[in-house]
Symmetry: C2
Subunit: 163 residues, 2 copies
DNA sequence: AAAGATTGAATCTTCAATCTTT
DNA sequence: AAAGATTGAAGATTCAATCTTT
């Protein structure tokens, strides 16, 4: 089953937490300072951009962003108020609400990306050994989506959002 | 200078974000369900436990937890209200406020650790190749503290807490 | 003036209850 | 009843302004 928690594992965990807090904080700071939109907003809008018809059901957005259901409602509220997306109720199933990317939303993505890309490069990738990047991705990839052998509750969405 | 942002870097970044959100979420969930205290609270109390006299100035706690100054004030408010620590103004410099770990605080740490340790093991370490753990730590360690600063004592003010 | 800390207002997120549609 | 979404209330975090001490 689970191997014992070694000192090296604990150190890796602590480093993981600090690395995340540090990099995210620095990038958010730069985005705010240089007129970009926040990371979560960006993530939502990009998800819409790549979706067919530039639209997604809120339910799917929730899975993508790892927020709770009410969380995504509020987030979409904000983005709609800013004009970056709009709600639509098209469709057979009238329970479903779709978020549709607007032109302003697309513009916000385009405007934010250069700042974001530079931030990822400077505050994350720059510090990694190029040859270790695939290794890191593979290792953390298994943390992100464990393959089956979880004892206990099988999560339907696999994202851990409780509700 | 900074190297160009490659596709592999971007994939690593995305995986990094999802891995963090997933692992933290699962562990917090278990802590809540099994009567432990939240991660941030734990982090603060452990910092106090290891400090000389089981006390630390709020200023130092802030650096440790990567919160803003007002953030640490509110956090200490909560922990004090729960009886897990108490404030003291001892010292020459009467601007400084110290947080002191109480016996209840120590008990909370002891009670939480088994759940936390199991969570780190199950939701993080378990998915890593043991021989890659040191590599991961080294790589992320440079992300956590760029400019060559030593990990373990984030005395560096450049951690991104804006004020 | 500068450093440490606190407070009020605003923002963001979650929880529990509710509404609508299937 | 179940699924998708929303809302009010509560909790957590930040910003800007303020207070005290150096």
């Amino acid at each position: 089953m689970d191997r014992e928690l070694r000192e090296a594992d604990l150190e890796a965990w602590r480093t993981f937490l600090v690395a995340h807090a540090t990099a995210v904080r620095r990038i958010e700071e730069e985005l705010a300072r240089e007129g970009g939109i926040p990371l979560v907003d960006y993530d939502v809008l990009v998800a819409l951009e790549h979706a067919p018809g530039r639209r997604l059901q809120l339910r799917d957005l929730q899975r993508r962003v790892l927020l709770t259901r009410s969380g995504i409602t509020r987030l979409v509220d904000r983005l709609e108020a800013q004009g970056l997306l709009r709600r639509e109720r098209l469709g057979e199933d009238r329970r479903a609400v779709h978020a549709v990317l607007t032109d302003e939303g697309l513009a916000a993505i385009r405007r934010t990306w250069p700042v974001y890309a530079r931030g990822i490069s400077e505050h994350f990738a720059h510090h990694l050994s190029p040859e270790q990047v695939p290794v890191l991705t593979a290792e953390l990839g298994r943390v992100a989506s464990p393959s089956g052998t979880e004892a206990g509750t099988p999560r339907e969405a696999g994202c851990g959002a409780q509700e």
